[in-house]
């Protein structure tokens, strides 16, 4: 394998990882506040749909250069709206959080396709739009291998990497982060200290909707260009895996997301190796999933979820 393909492979890795990074960061906000979010898949679906539709209408109205960013904004808004349903059910009405997350997945799958058919006269997918194009960072992108690999990417990828650091700082170095984590670890103690538990949890869940929405948007705006029934097919669940894999830590989740992206990229490039011809393609497809299990078994060990995860907060039980 020559160096050029190595650079390409790095690049593909980042393209595949971006959506997972966003969604996993979203999951961290929600789960650190104590609310399970199985609904990431649905929230990504909302985002992917909103980005495709918002981008399409923006393009239609003549805002060609701004269209993808308008799509991202729509995805953020619609993702938050979807998350609001989860928040109302699981925080205010103390519904089982797993169940209410599953509801999000159902509502998203149903309503996005229903709306696509309604808006585009029965078509199964949204019209193709121009998404983001890759933006090479001056100077840095000229470095061999690493340059085309890391510094010639979609703007969303740069944003994702910046946000990993921002979210890490927010969670572990600011009072807001301390409160959010306190609410997820020991809500009654946080309450005693004057933190509004339910409000913090609302913030956590809404942020998860926003981030997962952007995650979904990156898929339509960088890879597919349209939204259809199979645009989001399991990425949300992989993001959940990345979040757990990364022990609810933004840096860990970033690593896990890149790992998933990398193993997907391997799948695309493994055909270039001569020896891979003798391996059935199905086994190559299995690589990311089997590797995850092996890594989990050998290295990571017991997971450390926030201790109040999944429990509705009831002040009367304090």
């Amino acid at each position: 394998m020559d160096l050029l393909t190595l650079g390409q492979m790095l690049n593909t890795t980042l393209v595949f990882s971006t959506a997972l990074i966003f969604a996993a960061l979203g999951g961290i906000f929600s789960e650190r506040s104590g609310v399970v979010n199985i609904g990431l898949e649905g929230l990504m679906m909302f985002g992917a749909f909103a980005a495709a539709v918002g981008g399409y209408y923006a393009q239609d109205a003549g805002y060609e250069t701004m269209a993808p960013w308008i799509g991202v904004l729509c995805a953020m808004a619609v993702g938050m709206l979807g998350a609001l349903i989860h928040a109302v059910a699981s925080i205010t009405f103390k519904a089982d959080q797993t169940i209410s997350g599953t509801v999000i997945n159902f509502l998203a799958a149903g309503s996005t396709l229903y709306l696509v058919k309604l808006l585009f006269e029965g078509a199964g997918e949204t019209p193709l739009i121009d998404g983001f194009s890759k933006y090479p960072i001056p100077v840095l992108s000229k470095i061999p291998v690493i340059g085309p690999g890391l510094f010639n990417n979609y703007p969303t990828t740069y944003l994702a990497i910046i946000l990993v650091i921002v979210v890490y700082y927010l969670l572990f170095k600011t009072p807001f982060g301390l409160r959010l984590r306190a609410v997820g670890e020991h809500p009654s103690a946080a309450d005693t200290l004057g933190v509004n538990v339910n409000r913090m949890r609302y913030v956590g869940v809404m942020l998860s909707g926003m981030f997962a929405g952007i995650g979904g948007a990156t898929i339509t705006l960088t890879t597919t260009g349209t939204f259809a029934h199979n645009t989001i097919s399991g990425q949300g669940f992989i993001a959940i895996a990345a979040m757990i894999f990364g022990k609810w830590n933004p840096l860990g989740a970033f690593g896990a997301a890149v790992f998933f992206g990398f193993s997907q990229a391997i799948r695309n490039y493994v055909q270039l190796f001569g020896w891979s011809q003798s391996i059935p393609q199905e086994f190559i497809y299995m690589i990311p999933y089997v590797l995850t299990i092996i890594v989990l078994v050998s290295a990571v060990g017991r997971s450390s979820a926030p201790s109040a995860l999944g429990q509705p907060y009831d002040p009367s039980k304090r």
């Binding site: 797993t98 149903g110 229903y114 995850t292």
Partner: protein, 357 residues
């Protein structure tokens, strides 16, 4: 009589019924906003299900795998685990049934069919057992492992079908000679593909009920599900229970796979994506409040709605995806019972007043 009164007096039956009603209302509202006629759409839905003997039989066929995957998810839930992997377990069950059905085709049907069904159940159980084992021995979150195992199952099944069972030049396996169709019922229902899987599913629900609520092992399993620390302190073997529970959950899902292969299609295709039985099973388990008999009722509702939704798009031109909004809303209202109770409040108030008078 007293017992009957008591059943109807508790709101555990009223809440799901009101939730279903509210779900349909949400669906109707969404249709009205979209400019469709909800009455025509729901009419078309029910006409599709009950319109002909064939369609009714096919609707029952559609419910069958949902019952089993629903039971699978619910069973794991009862012992504190979230089985997102029923999909993969179904696929492994399907593949096991196909391999046995095709490779041992020389055996008489009365031997071959039970062998294939048992094989499907066992392999489904072992597949789920991997996640159970990793959870018990290594503390690895079963949500991740079952998600990963779904994908591995998809590709493994494709590999096995493609390499060992394929008809040359086609994307599907050979036909399996023996079938588990319910011959006498098939003819009544105009050749609808009813099969023994439905009977197996009902039996599985009864097993589920008796095992969890009438045996010591089931008591332990529920205890582990409610509070694993307390169960451990009481001297129960949490790890063994975790593995056992995942195994049984996988058996249920594997049996669903056997039903689909031996009862419905009689062959297995190379699949581009996973069939989604497991995710529907999650919804069914939640709709059924993770109680075995609730799961059966939920599967009936779910199967009816999904089968009928095709008629809805055909006759009333409403996108069939709408039905997912209805199902999602029903689960939402069941989960967030506070909303339902709030809706019901005026009625309760009335009843109490009557008592005073």
């Amino acid at each position: 009589m007293y017992k009957l009164k008591k059943i109807f007096a508790t709101d555990s039956y009223i809440v799901p019924l009101v939730a279903i009603l509210l779900g349909f209302l949400v669906g109707a509202a969404v249709m009205l906003i979209g400019g469709y006629d909800p009455i025509a759409a729901y009419g078309a839905l029910f006409k599709r299900v009950f319109g002909s003997a064939y369609d009714f039989g096919e609707a029952i066929r559609e419910m069958t795998p949902l019952m089993l995957t629903g039971l699978s998810v619910a069973f794991a839930f009862r012992s504190g685990m979230f089985n997102i992997g029923a999909d993969g377990q179904v696929l492994i069950g399907m593949t096991a049934a196909s391999v046995i059905g095709i490779k041992l085709a020389g055996l008489p049907a009365f031997l071959l069919v039970p062998l294939a069904v048992i094989g499907a159940g066992l392999f489904g159980g072992m597949w789920a057992g991997i996640a159970g084992y990793l959870k018990a021995k290594r503390g690895i979150n079963e949500v991740i492992t079952t998600i990963m195992l779904n994908w591995v199952a998809l590709y493994l099944a494709n590999y096995i079908v493609r390499t060992f069972l394929l008809i040359p030049g086609q994307n599907r396996s050979e036909d399996i000679p023996a079938s588990m169709s319910l011959t006498f019922l098939n003819s009544i229902f105009d050749n609808a593909r009813l099969h023994w899987g439905t009977v197996i599913a009902l039996a599985a629900a009864v097993f589920f009920y008796i095992y969890l609520w009438k045996t010591k092992q089931g008591f332990e399993m529920r205890a582990v599900g409610l509070n694993s620390h307390a169960a451990e302190y009481a001297g129960m073997n949490v790890r063994r229970n975790v593995m056992k529970s995942m195994f049984i959950a996988g058996v249920f899902a594997g049996l669903a796979g056997a039903g689909e292969v031996l009862g419905v299609f009689h062959y297995q295709s190379v699949l581009a994506a996973s069939p989604g039985y497991g995710f529907d099973g999650i919804a069914v388990a939640l709709l059924g409040l993770t109680h075995p008999f609730g799961v059966i009722l939920a599967a009936i509702l779910y199967g009816m709605l999904t089968y009928g939704s095709a008629g809805m798009s055909f006759n009333a031109d409403v996108p069939p995806e709408l039905i997912r909004i209805v199902i999602g809303s029903i689960i939402f209202f069941i989960a967030a019972q506070g909303i339902v109770r709030w809706v019901l409040k005026p009625f309760y108030f009335k009843r109490k007043k009557e008592k005073v008078l």
